[in-house]
Symmetry: C2
Subunit: 274 residues, 2 copies
Amino acid sequence: METISTALSYGGTQGVYRHMSVVTGCDMTFAVFMPPHDRPVPVLWYLSGLTCTHANVMDKGEYRRVAAELGVAIVCPDTSPRGADIPDEADNWQFGSGAGFYVDATQTPYAENYNMYSYVSEELPALIAAEFDVDMSRQGIFGHSMGGHGALTIALKHPDRYKSASAFAPITQPSTADWSSGSLAKYLGDDASGWRQYDAVALLEDGYRFDDFLVDQGTADSFLESGLRPWLLEEACKNAGQKLTLRMQEGYDHSYLFVSSFMEDHLRWHMKRL
Amino acid sequence: METISTALSYGGTQGVYRHMSVVTGCDMTFAVFMPPHDRPVPVLWYLSGLTCTHANVMDKGEYRRVAAELGVAIVCPDTSPRGADIPDEADNWQFGSGAGFYVDATQTPYAENYNMYSYVSEELPALIAAEFDVDMSRQGIFGHSMGGHGALTIALKHPDRYKSASAFAPITQPSTADWSSGSLAKYLGDDASGWRQYDAVALLEDGYRFDDFLVDQGTADSFLESGLRPWLLEEACKNAGQKLTLRMQEGYDHSYLFVSSFMEDHLRWHMKRL
């Protein structure tokens, strides 16, 4: 692991790091905020949305003040493999670079690199456990948009590992959303039955459960109808008996101006459970 | 004035706007955060540093939470005129675009456009007063680096207009600092006596005073010795009987990770005086 930068912030350390990832076959960059601490701290995973890198939430997410106060590490991975050797569609913001969708691809040529599910749920956690002063028995996971959906699905599949999960404006059913179904077909093949393990609504239908979810969704989000559709998650949770706190936030959009406004609520929600 | 974007944030509105500026001879972009309010609110001017636009502090400054709570508008101008017709030195980050130094240039060809002193102290305030629900009898001014220095000098020259002034890691004596003296010569000519009205230390020597200043400076700031030198301001204030609270912040650098860490302190300092 190589340190790209570190700087003091709110008494903690905001760092950016790079390592060679086996599962994605390329160098991966990620950000870690370590709060001031004198013992191992719990870890909160933040998964970012389409087009983002580790940097968007680091720059605009406004998590450090409360994370420093509460004593929790915030880990922000990238959203896809990247580099000259990585298959990509440069003119498609919904696929390839910046659009890993937190799946393990099965299709050629993507299966070689696009394994963000294994990356964020296995490989990077092992590195974080080895390199930082964290207590891996206390992990939570959250994210925004594509990453909010990633957090929900990964929590549903690992209810014992993560003690808390929340999302800002998550995609709820990527199998049928305009902006994701085409990408799932490329990563996972045309047989949509293979997509269900990466679809929050389908996982709930298939019996996966988590303790409870917090979801914030802005009512002025321009992707509400086409990509996000929180009512699908609400319905699936209701049918499954899955606890969900869904808050429709009047007038908020899809940007980090929305995410940052409710970041503190999410951090406090997680820390009550970590 | 044209609205480029607005979004709800912490219950207030973060907007970005553009207008044709007479004093800089070009379109200028600026950001305004309006807190939730039911009467005109005080205004706090934030002047940014070298290389920045209105966007850096808007993205990374973390001012909205406290500004919403305290009920103060935050106005963030650009740092220079910009555009294809504006004289510039594209390979020089200390001059031209992003480096207006809050002076009114006197030298050809810069005098036509590089009038950021008049822009931030006269033209933009008139526009803000006309277009936003603000109380212009309650104004404060602050900024970072080049903009922190701009805030100190503008406050010294208008002690009755601004009720509060503070700075993050300001340049203190641009006339003699490595990274600014060359630029002042180009904007203002080789006769350094004309630079004194744009130099905080010189203004203090020349009898200008302000109520009191708050200055935060990181001890790990890589520009401390070459560009910033807070001890020059401290000495000048001491000699002038000027009140100054200078806080050396152990281990902090020059970035917005430093600025955001102390943003709340500055906003509360200003609001006690506004």
